[in-house]
């Protein structure tokens, strides 16, 4: 019989999809509460490492430089020899890139309205959610590749993966951004949406999730009132999910 430590050593190098199969199929795991706890800690730890690894400052102006590079590439309309180093670019190309960057920067500056969209940093939000709700890490580590099945969310959103949030543009306040995360956790699935509170005209006033309607949506705001969260629970007993994940708030 394989020991707990041998099994853990095996699980430690499995990716999240493989771990999901373990969680579903392993008879030892079903019977061993210590291994269950260990696995949960493993997922939490891995999720924290992933978030910390994504914590890398972005060089200033990178977006404009990249846009300029692809612009000049398409303008040149010629096959580009793959260069392993940018410094090997010719002087003309550098000049083109620079002029395009300046032009793009200018266009961007002129076109940005006062209520420019908030750039949504996933790592930031992930850390934030985990700080507020430690159970969220466990949710995130669970199956995410499954197609979203949410009656109120259609089309592209069905392909949401929890670690790949999509920006939402709010109609009620022009130029606002939010992020949506599909989740699947034990018997539950649904979507969590996070929106900067100041972007809402009528945000939730409570800091505890309040059920919105028979759609089983819950809305609440963070204690510091910076974020509004909306959670759709599409399958599974909704109150049970809210208690399990956002337990301290219910």
């Amino acid at each position: 019989m394989t020991s707990c430590s041998e099994l853990r050593a095996k699980w430690d190098v499995l990716c999240s999809t493989e771990l999901d199969s373990v969680a579903e199929d392993c008879s030892h795991l079903r019977a061993c509460s210590e291994c269950q706890q260990w696995l949960q800690q493993l997922r939490h730890f891995d999720s924290k490492v992933s978030a910390a690894l994504a914590d890398v400052p972005i060089p200033e102006g990178l977006e404009a430089r990249l846009l300029a590079a692809i612009e000049s590439e398409s303008a040149a309309a010629a096959p580009v020899v793959e260069s392993p180093r940018r410094r090997s670019f010719t002087g003309l190309r550098v000049l083109l890139t620079l002029s395009a960057a300046i032009l793009l920067g200018l266009v961007w500056w002129l076109s940005v309205p006062d209520n420019s969209p908030v750039t949504f940093e996933f790592a930031e939000l992930q850390t934030r959610l985990q700080q507020d709700y430690s159970q969220v890490a466990a949710v995130e580590a669970l199956p995410v590749a499954t197609d979203l099945d949410c009656a109120t969310v259609e089309g592209e959103l069905r392909r949401l993966r929890l670690h790949d949030p999509r920006g939402l543009q709010l109609d009620s306040v022009a130029g606002s951004d939010a992020a949506a995360y599909a989740f699947r956790y034990k018997q539950w699935s649904g979507v969590v949406i996070a929106i900067p509170t100041h972007r809402l005209q009528n945000g939730p006033s409570s800091t505890a999730p309040v059920s919105g309607s028979r759609q089983r949506s819950f809305a609440w705001q963070s204690r510091d009132q910076q974020w509004a969260y909306v959670c759709y629970v599409n399958s599974g007993p909704a109150e049970g999910f809210m208690r399990s994940v956002f337990g301290s708030m219910v």
């Binding site: 910390a52 089309g155 959103l157 392909r159 993966r161 939402l168 109609d171 009620s172 009528n202």
Partner: protein, 195 residues
Amino acid sequence: MQILHIGGNKTGQNRLSLTVNVSMDTGSSELTAASLVREQYQAVYRFAFRLACSVSDAEDLTQQTFLIACRKLGDLRDPGRARSWLFSIVRNLFLKLRRESQNMVAGIEQPEEVVEDVSLDIPVDSERLEQALATLPEAFRVPLLLYYFEDLSYKEIATALEVPAGTVMSRLARAKSHLRVALGDAEQAGLAERN
């Protein structure tokens, strides 16, 4: 454009009621090189930085990645998979460059064997993680990054790196153990300092 109704009762005091127009920039008909850059450049740069360990190399990798991606945009059938597609370009480009410069040597300066029973309940601080990564040889660091950024299985990592699956398993295990020991040590040192 999709309409998403949140809540639905305008009079409910604690209820959020708004209509959201979901703008999917990566919808297949709208996917352009520029929207791909805008949506994904930060994630791509972060992965590239962790692989290359230098700002200028990471920026080069990011730029090369998007230039290749723009040329092959038609290959991306499912826009929802744009990030993993871009990550695979970053990874292949990085590995190609490494092979060319023959920098990725297996077996240089091995990290310690797997240390069992290290607590998983330790804080993960970016700075400490960076220090731990810096002391990890590339042959161990790269599989670890493919594991964390791309969520690849050890078999997929083995294929990408062209090394046996068993080697990847052992390197992954040792790399993860190395991180935990380093993060745990940092926490111990912090505790001792505070006491």
